[in-house]
Symmetry: C2
């Protein structure tokens, strides 16, 4: 340790928000050297290498083969697949001295597909799964979360190539199972959540989220095992109801009702329900006007009817209308569509249908999944200061489809019937995508099938954020005093501290270290000529799981074995300490 | 092998010039995926990893500690040290979304110096040697030589930090010795040549060159052990001679002597020597006019007097005048300096001194080391169609210094007295630089010394081109049929070929493979259902050192052990083949 490239710090770095970031810097694992760029110091590099070994072993066991690509790639294929435009400012681009455009690859779908196209040509060559562990680049706007969100970060990215959907399913399942083994071996809690594929495209997609209060994702889960990220959550629709016998739609005056709350108050005051309960916001239908910008640049106004007790969730709307961009309609949009009577919008008016494919406006009208046939709503009558009562879905208005735009709430039923959901925060550890043929189509990746016919290959893409995994392991395995690594990734198995000034303490510490190394352990000896107090503070900060303190007791043939995580200490006879620690390492 | 991500090719890639490049592509080790960028396929990645392990072990043994830096770094520190301008178009630069400038680091002197400045502050922290194995980026103009000159390539770069010159010497020697061990372990021939420090700066610099006809560097070596690259070669100056008694300088008419050869012919015709030998070009002094562009942008004309039998070598001139840029003087330069009578330039004229600090022209006059005091020359008289005989150095003209601008020739004496030199071609494997304080000064890297005084740290920089080493190992260990790896870096220790159709052959091959793996060997089994001829061709191409052929002999309990490099085959009893091969692996 007297020669280790290490400087521990007592003060938190000014720019660090999360405990893992603060501790990894203070304990000398990483050091910021660029915005979103960290130097890996010797301790940090050891932990990262151990995580990589776990990932590599599980990839290999799943039949994936390791390769390595350049990070600097021609921009051309990224333009072909559309990702160049999709990523926009989020990726780094540059030109070489001849003006040829390059990207610093954020992920390698295009490059892997082109390599397989270059080398393989037959169904006999498939299935194939290949992966790399590599530095990736993204131009993060505010890279402040340490290793959790860097501009240059380490990632394992794997890609599978199959001749048909069944093959892709099998490859996907192999990677998914490998991910479960990786996170179990690392001792990192995870939830597998259904995800929206987004810019990656594809049919099936799941995120491995680590539940943590510092997470930047919100996800939902039920006690019965359902999990999804908020964008992918599917509302459980109620059963349709009988329309016959429902009261007729009735327009009523509703002055001074700028909000749902004022509308509900007016209803309870002037139009009390006959069934003994009060009107609530959930009885109203809120018609949210969204402006979509399609990928061809066309702007389209759509209206989505959602229960009035819920707000629209723009991220869910983006997922619902992907790949179009979504925003709230502007004043200009309303001005361009005078048919929409702002504040009193509804699909129906006394004069006839206002919204939907069969209306004269032609504005699409989509509804929340809860707006099933036979449900009765209070909503705008599409004339100033008037609403309508008992507007019945399937009788008084039609829809052009269902859209999941309403916010998700704790207590909502999970779609698989596994009970009410709760909302939790998490951070993405990994992501598995069944990409399908999007990339292979764009790049012409075809092989000959059994009948000698050219068929397009179907792909999967599977990433694990290695540096982020390290950050989350640090967060989960630490306390106010410092880190406390699990054995699977600790930079050293044991730290031997010579605690005192006597030369005999140093000799004994060195000897214990040597003997443990002969037993196959990675050992760090604190041989610095500084006070024991500083050494103990550093030991707590650095977080090697087992600390052997060689101190005053040595004259009585006794040393102390300190379990950093449990913070328990026990006296052990000098003669048996090597056996004791070796046994701990073997678990 | 039936599942290995591998496609061997019978045809050489169109863009490959060198055997290593052709074979590494054909044998499925690498594949071009960008200009100067290669994907490492599974076989190639294995070899590279083995080279990296050797380098890492020797770095660790030399007390260097591994770290890892981002490749994407702020341009600012590179501007501070001047390297941003020095590299110019040779490095990739880019801007982030906010317009901040970045470089893809070609090497990391600045970043390492800043990290040490950030963390360390005392002489007690030094010496320190830290290294990384990392992808580097350079914008090569014509990246055509495969792994020998890529735009993205793997490099080990180490940096040492010392408090004083003795410390730097010791750190330098440790790295230098580690390099020797690395190349010896890899079985790669090397010459350590004195080098010119160039853009890196510093006092002491040596290149590790691999002598090879495909090398892009020329270097000199003597049988007595001297070696230097051409830029660093120092001419052995003759002893000064007695001036007294030499004939006086005599101007003579020399019409129609546009070249040295015509001048020599005229001399022998009209002014024969009295000593029985003929005039030769070596008796004449050629005055080469060079235009220097200094780093501040100033242009300066200098004249260098070199023996007339040698041409000027612009690369040596660049090293001599570093950091100025050097080119031959242009017509415009001559027009601006009418004192120079083109074709008849000389330091002396009948009217007085023409060149040198004491002349009225003020044009600097430098001389070749052979132009020592008392040497007699025939040179221009600085008037049209006239030369001068018996112009004596130190009597008739002075110089402003010595400049190594003349070409180096086979047969020139080595400066250390170790005999005549020869010229050889080689490629740089590694480079060790005693940088001194250039970077530390520029970046303010200081620590407190023993007396509490701030002193500037002195640095060394030490690089090995990992991917280039792999290319040169492939070049040196191959023949027309394919690669033939040394055991130290082979992708597998043994290849077991099932040669035939009988299921028993495949079972036996698998069994031998398994048993060898249990003995700790890395084994590849060729279990493909294709003809033995194709398998043998692939075995020769891929170059695993030991091939076990399980073929027809199996029914008699015999297999064949084939040494790929020696191309020797021997029959071995099935029951003893595992022992035999395991013994080969242990050497």
């Amino acid at each position: 340790m007297s020669r280790l490239f290490l400087r521990t710090l007592r003060e938190d770095p000014a720019d660090a928000e999360f405990r893992n970031h603060k501790l990894l810097v203070r304990a000398g694992y990483i050091r910021r050297v660029a915005p979103g760029g960290f130097a890996w110091l010797p301790l940090g590099l050891r932990v990262k290498a151990k995580i990589e070994t776990v990932v590599r072993e599980e990839m290999d066991a799943a039949g994936a083969q390791e390769v390595h690509f350049p990070a600097l790639l021609s921009a051309e294929p990224y333009k072909t697949t559309g990702r160049y435009a999709d990523y926009g400012d989020d990726i780094f681009t540059l030109e070489d001295r001849k003006g040829v455009e390059y990207v610093l690859a954020p992920t390698h779908e295009e490059a892997f597909a082109l390599l397989v196209k270059d080398l393989y040509s037959s169904y006999k060559d498939l299935p194939l799964s290949i992966y790399q562990i590599q530095e990736k680049f993204r131009d993060e706007t505010r890279p402040r979360a340490g290793l959790m969100r860097g501009r240059e970060f380490t990632m394992k990215d794997a890609y599978s190539f199959d001749i048909d959907d069944e093959g892709l399913d099998a490859s996907y399942d192999l990677q998914r199972a490998a991910y479960e083994r990786v996170f179990r071996r690392l001792g990192l809690e995870y939830a597998i959540v259904s995800a929206h594929a987004g810019a990656m495209g594809g049919s099936r997609s799941e995120e491995f989220l680590h539940p943590t209060p510092i997470g930047d994702d919100t996800f939902v889960r039920s006690s019965g095992g359902y999990a999804a990220n908020v964008e992918a959550f599917r509302t459980l629709p109620p059963a349709p109801r009988e329309i016959a016998g429902l009261p007729a739609a009735t327009v009523f005056d509703s002055p001074d009702t700028p909000t749902i709350a004022t509308l509900v108050a007016l209803l309870n005051d002037r139009h009390p329900r006959g069934d003994g309960r009060e009107w609530t916001a959930a009885d109203t239908l809120k018609n949210v006007v969204l402006a979509l910008t399609h990928t061809n640049g066309e702007r389209e106004l759509v209206v989505v009817g959602i229960p009035g007790d819920r707000d629209a969730d723009l991220k869910r709307a983006e997922a619902a209308f992907f790949p179009a961009a979504v925003e709230a309609a502007t004043e200009a949009d309303f001005a361009a569509h005078p048919v929409l009577v702002k504040g009193y919008i509804g699909p129906w008016s006394a004069a006839g249908p206002v919204l939907g494919g069969s209306s004269t406006s032609g504005i699409r009208f989509l509804v929340d999944p809860r707006v099933v046939e036979g449900t009765e709503w209070v909503t705008g009558a599409n004339e100033p200061e008037r609403h309508v009562l008992s507007l019945v879905a399937g009788r008084d208005f039609e829809n052009d489809g269902v859209a999941e735009v309403a916010e998700v709430r704790a207590g909502d039923p999970a779609p698989d019937g596994s009970g009410p959901i709760e909302l939790a925060r998490g951070t993405e550890l990994g992501h598995v995508f069944a990409l399908g043929r999007k990339y292979a189509d764009a790049l012409g990746l075809q092989v000959l099938d059994r009948n000698g016919k050219l068929v397009t290959v179907t792909m999967g893409s599977y990433g694990i954020g290695i540096s982020r995994v390290m950050a989350l392991l640090a967060e989960a395995n630490s306390d106010d005093k410092g880190l406390a690594w699990p054995r699977s990734v600790a930079p050293f198995d044991a730290l031997i501290v010579a605690a005192g000034k006597d030369e005999a303490l140093f000799e004994a510490a060195e000897r214990i270290g040597r003997e443990l190394e002969q037993r196959g352990a990675d050992v760090l000896v604190d041989d610095r000529r500084i006070s024991p107090g500083v050494k103990f503070k550093d030991a707590e900060l650095i977080g090697v799981p087992t600390v052997v303190v060689v101190g005053r007791g040595l004259t009585d043939g006794v040393v102390e074995v300190w379990d950093r995580a449990a913070d328990t200490r026990s006296e052990v006879a000098l003669v048996s300490v090597v056996d004791r620690v070796a046994a701990l390492l073997e678990g």
